[in-house]
């Protein structure tokens, strides 16, 4: 089980995440929702051990992950929000490097890389440098790098960004399948429909604080509405329809001024 216990992160004196607590059980797919600046990425980085919490702990099977980060990371598959990769390496070389760093045996590594590249439709481009890849192709490389060692914990930060429809559908089904096979999945996204469809539970953050945490079905029933409306009700203080109307007013201002 993965647990966040009173997690707090401050950048200088600015709090990014405050007193965040939740748990993630095997088989659970926990979606994390929140507007920009709500602390999603900071939470993900603390869960993956990239950031050390200012206060609180992340515990895996009852142990603080900071006590033995290397051991924890062996169980972790992480897909970051942005696909920052080494542009001069080929897709195959990058995956080979990651597999070797993870200590995967040679025969298994080559076989897995080939099969996964084939399944993600990247096999014909495996020897082209990543610099020439499209955003979706880079994203697929990140996904393969995160899953190829069969980890127990998956942390996905906007994994569908830039993917085409087919690849996105594959990933959505994959996430559900991982959950069903008893893995722990933490899934961060802006896309409410995706979270609603593939996650069993949801965590809603606002200004670094958890404002709601429950199963997707229960959250939707808080106001007897869809997840989207519930989310907007909980998180946003703005009337989106009014804002959209105001935007149209502003962009047509010049023509009105000219007419006047």
């Amino acid at each position: 089980m993965l647990e966040a216990v009173h997690l707090t992160k401050r950048y200088a004196s600015l709090p990014a995440v405050q007193d965040l607590s939740f748990s993630l059980r095997p088989g659970q797919v926990l979606g994390c929702l929140g507007p920009n600046g709500s602390g999603k990425s900071t939470t993900v980085k603390m869960l993956s051990g990239l950031l050390q919490p200012t206060r609180g702990t992340v515990q895996f099977d009852g142990h603080n992950i900071q006590d033995d980060l290397t051991a924890y990371r062996k169980h972790l598959g992480y897909v970051p929000e942005e696909a920052h990769l080494y542009p001069y390496l080929s897709g195959w070389e990058y995956l080979e490097m990651i597999g070797t760093l993870r200590g995967m045996p040679d025969f298994e590594l080559a076989k897995k890389i080939d099969s996964l590249l084939e399944l993600f439709s990247l096999h014909p481009h495996r020897h082209a440098t990543i610099g020439t890849y499209s955003k979706g192709m880079r994203q697929r490389i990140l996904l393969i790098a995160a899953i190829m060692h069969n980890p127990d914990i998956f942390i996905f930060d906007e994994p569908l960004s830039g993917l085409d429809v087919t690849s996105a559908l594959i990933i959505k089904n994959l996430v559900q399948a991982l959950g069903l096979s008893g893995k722990l999945v933490f899934y961060c996204s802006h896309v409410l429909e995706v979270v609603e469809k593939i996650c069993s539970d949801v965590l809603i953050l606002r200004k670094g604080v958890v404002i709601a945490q429950d199963s997707v079905a229960n959250i939707g029933q808080i106001l007897g509405q869809s997840l989207e409306n519930t989310f907007l009700h909980l998180v946003d203080e703005v009337d989106t329809v009014t804002v959209a109307r105001d935007i149209v007013d502003v962009i047509s201002m010049r023509s009105r001024l000219s007419a006047a």
């Binding site: 970051p80 942005e82 542009p87 070389e93 080979e96 993870r102 080559a110 610099g131 499209s134």
Partner: protein, 587 residues
């Protein structure tokens, strides 16, 4: 009353409100801050810092010349009649070469940023701006850059050097005349260098298809860098050869543009030999020709590349032929490298060195310097000895592997510090254990696996053929031992994965380190071969080196053992040492 600066400020403010002015400003900034898609991030220095660094060599060298031209120093040396113009000739040549090398290096460094790239295309072309406006704005930015760099590189030396030379003359007119001619020489040579590199870039762009251009571009830059290093190495010998050349200009002087500009300066001073006059006459026509070629190929390259960027954007990753797989070398690497970390990172380091242009350029410059110094040593060895066998045992010939290994080890050590695509290092931050870094071992393995075969393969058979097995074995052993020891010394407290950490900060002891490198070179590459040359006559004398070897082996190990744990931790960011540490007890 309005000052010229205020007028210029108003003028600039007026123009920067217009699209053209804004575009020029944008292109100037992008040339300095980096274009291209790949690894611009690694060396993104501010404009101020770049200009300061470029201006420094001229200023420092001028100050160092105070000793040469100072009247007191002259008096101490007992040199009474002192022809200052004659004495200034080698220094003037040096400044011309320096100006050309620095400006050429800037053009090579900013090679990718001189032409508008895909990012510019995506941002600018959808705007209601004519393509010719974008073209003209970039051209103005390039010309501005050429002028700015030329002025910056030469500004200090144009005042300090004439001031130092004229100090003996006590005549202001002499200073003005000398300074004016010197300024013309160095500025024109700077322009020539910039536009020559620019012409080459434009020519490649105009002639080659984009994919071929990318491949050839890397080699072309390497060749330019080696040429610039060679030019720098001519500063010691060329002035004296030129001064003593009688009759028409020697053929080799036509290959060195620095000679033409020196000829121009001497001709303007009325001190030119016939050879120099001949060279001086080449200067202006060739400068104008280079500028004209640069302009024409710029137009052609622009039409060919910028207009077609949209087509290139649509191109998806092209399948390449299967490169030699790293896995095929795995059995060999597994024997040499002990852990998965070393095996994976060895491949990463090796591929970065091969494929990152910045790193390749720095290494090419170092290798070029090594090549020039080695050729010089070889020529000296051949000149002084009647046969190849005797030449092989001379200190000059023996110094060749020492020169090359020293420069390559130092070059690799420096290159390891230059970051590449820093944002991508998250994967190493995620996967590596900071408390058990093997970075030092990895860096040592990379250096030694690269260097040892390069030493052994040519040195041993060559010396075995020329001098017999014993001499060959002793020489190869000594070079290998020195290589290993130098590598160990340079990697003491190295705790970074190469290319993944931010650039090192300038520290107070950086100058001391620089001076240590110079002294290190003298001991390693000059004194050792001197000793070796005499010791090879009586091989038992080699044993006197044993205590030195033991000390050089033990000291780095002792330092490594006594390093505090906090200084062993793997780092991805260089943090400045703070005078005051905040305890942040409130957090």
């Amino acid at each position: 009353m309005t000052s010229p600066f205020e007028i210029a400020g108003h003028w600039w403010n007026f123009y920067r409100q217009r699209p053209f002015g804004r575009l020029v400003e944008l292109f100037i900034a992008r040339i300095f801050r980096g274009g291209g898609d790949a690894d611009a991030e690694g060396l993104d220095l501010g404009i101020g810092l770049v200009l300061t660094v470029l201006a420094m060599p001229g200023g420092f060298v001028s100050l160092l010349l105070l000793d040469k031209y100072g009247t007191f120093a002259q008096w101490l040396r007992g040199l009474k009649p002192f022809d200052v113009l004659q004495a200034a000739l080698p220094d003037e040549y040096f400044f011309i070469v320096l100006s050309m090398v620095v400006t050429g290096a800037v053009a090579v460094w900013r090679w990718d940023a001189i032409f508008p790239d895909r990012r510019d295309y995506i941002n600018l072309v959808p705007l209601p701006i004519a393509t010719k406006t974008i073209f003209s704005a970039n051209l103005v930015a390039v010309v501005f850059l050429a002028g700015l760099v030329s002025l910056d590189v030469n500004a200090v030396s144009c005042i300090l050097f004439p001031a130092v030379v004229a100090a003996t003359q006590m005549k202001f007119l002499f200073f003005v005349k000398f300074a004016a001619i010197h300024a013309v020489g160095v500025l024109l040579s700077s322009f020539f260098s910039f536009f020559a590199v620019f012409s080459l870039l434009g020519l490649l762009m105009a002639l080659l298809p984009p994919s071929a251009f990318r491949r050839v571009s890397a080699y072309a830059r390497g060749i330019v860098v080696v040429y610039l290093v060679t030019l720098l190495c001519t500063t010691a010998a060329v002035p004296s050869l030129l001064r003593h050349a009688t009759g028409p200009a020697p053929g080799w002087t036509f290959l060195l543009p620095s000679c033409w500009f020196l000829g121009l300066c001497q001709w303007m001073r009325g001190r030119a030999t016939p050879a120099m006059v001949e060279l001086a006459k080449l200067t202006l026509p060739l400068l104008l020709a280079v500028i004209a070629v640069a302009f024409c190929v710029y137009v052609a390259g622009y039409r060919r590349h910028f207009i077609r960027i949209a087509e290139l954007t649509e191109t998806i990753a092209e399948p390449r032929r299967n490169p030699t797989s790293h896995l095929r070398l795995r059995p060999l690497l597994s024997r040499l490298l002990r852990t998965p970390f070393q095996i994976a990172c060895f491949a990463f380091v090796w591929k970065t060195l091969r494929r990152s242009e910045t790193h390749r350029l720095v290494l090419t410059a170092v290798a070029g310097l090594g090549l020039v110094l080695s050729s010089q040593a070889l020529m000296n060895a051949m000149d002084d000895a009647p046969s190849a066998r005797q030449a092989a045992l001379s200190p000059d010939a023996l110094s060749i592997p020492f020169i090359l290994t020293f420069l390559i080890i130092v070059g690799l050590r420096v290159v390891f510090e230059i970051p590449v695509e820093l944002r991508a290092n998250w994967i190493f931050q995620l996967m590596l254990d900071p408390n058990q870094p093997e970075c030092e071992a990895l860096a040592r393995n990379v250096i030694l696996i690269f260097l040892l075969p390069c030493i052994f393969v040519p040195a041993f058979p060559l010396y075995a053929y020329l001098e017999g097995f014993t001499v060959a074995a002793l020489h190869t052993l000594l070079v290998i031992t020195w290589t290993v020891l130098l590598t160990n010394i340079l990697l003491v407290r190295f705790r970074k994965l190469p290319f993944t950490c931010t650039l090192p900060l300038f520290k107070q002891h950086s100058i001391v380190i620089l001076i240590s490198f110079v002294f290190g070179f003298l001991i390693y590459a000059l004194s050792t071969p001197e000793f070796e040359s005499s010791a090879l006559q009586q091989p038992l004398r080699m044993l006197t080196l044993v205590p030195v070897v033991i000390a050089a082996w033990l000291i780095p190990h002792y330092l490594e053992k006594n390093t505090p744990d906090i200084d062993r931790k793997l780092i991805f960011e260089e943090s400045p040492s703070r005078t005051i540490e905040l305890l942040q007890l409130g957090d």
